[in-house]
Amino acid sequence: MALSIVHRATGIALYFGTLLLAWWLIAAASGPAAYAHVQGFTGSIIGRLIVFGYTWALMHHMLSGIRHFVWDLGYGFKANEREALTWGALIGGIALTVLVWIIAYAIGGGR
């Protein structure tokens, strides 16, 4: 499994994704017009796709990072354990992303 490159790629995506986070916070501090502008972007199709991708990158990077952390601690080096950790990060990342978005739509859609 060549998943460590995905860990790296999601890390790089998250790196540039912080610009979106910073923009959002600065807009919230700037005032209603700036904030509405950000919401206009994050509410658009392309905006939603980017934020969805960002959510997946974050969830995957977190779980994949936990996998590396387990290895750092000296566990999980057997072939079946490595496979389980890798698949766990891959499937868990997708599952958490979907879960977060379901909750987001359930809560945000009601407002």
């Binding site: 910073a22 919230a28 977190m62």
Partner: protein
């Protein structure tokens, strides 16, 4: 630790002992900080997600009220500091792995530091402004 440096027990090569802080010239401090910030962000993930859920669908006045409250502001500040530090180290590792031209590597590492610092300080400033009620 003299026992660790005896040839029998040491895992380090003679070259490694000469260049005692390794390729990054900072020993293992970045390795440690990378894990420290990773664990911090993992612990902060659920509170941060809860905050984002609270903000969904609200206008700027609502967002300001939530982000400006003390517990929320502290959680956000901790997350910003941990993520900026984490991504600075992570990107430096990527640069050191792929950029082999020495000058370009130094410039890249410098820009990486600028980027992480700018994103962190801009975000921190925004949170502080939301908290101060100005």
């Amino acid at each position: 630790m003299s026992t660790a440096d005896t040839p029998k027990r040491s895992m380090r090569t003679p070259l490694g002992r000469v260049r005692n802080l390794g390729a990054a010239h900072s020993g293992t401090s970045d390795f440690w900080r990378q894990r420290l910030t990773a664990v911090a962000m993992t612990l902060l993930m659920i509170p941060v997600l809860v905050i984002i859920m609270m903000l969904l669908g609200r206008n700027q006045a609502g967002a300001k009220q939530i982000l400006g409250s003390l517990p929320v502001a502290i959680i956000m500040l901790l997350f910003i500091v941990a993520s900026a530090w984490h991504m600075k180290i992570g990107m430096q590792v990527v640069i050191e792995d792929y950029v082999h031209n020495e000058k370009l590597k130094l410039i890249s590492i410098m820009l990486n530091n600028f980027f992480a610092a700018a994103v962190a300080l801009a975000s921190i400033y925004a949170i502080l402004q939301l908290s101060s009620g100005v």
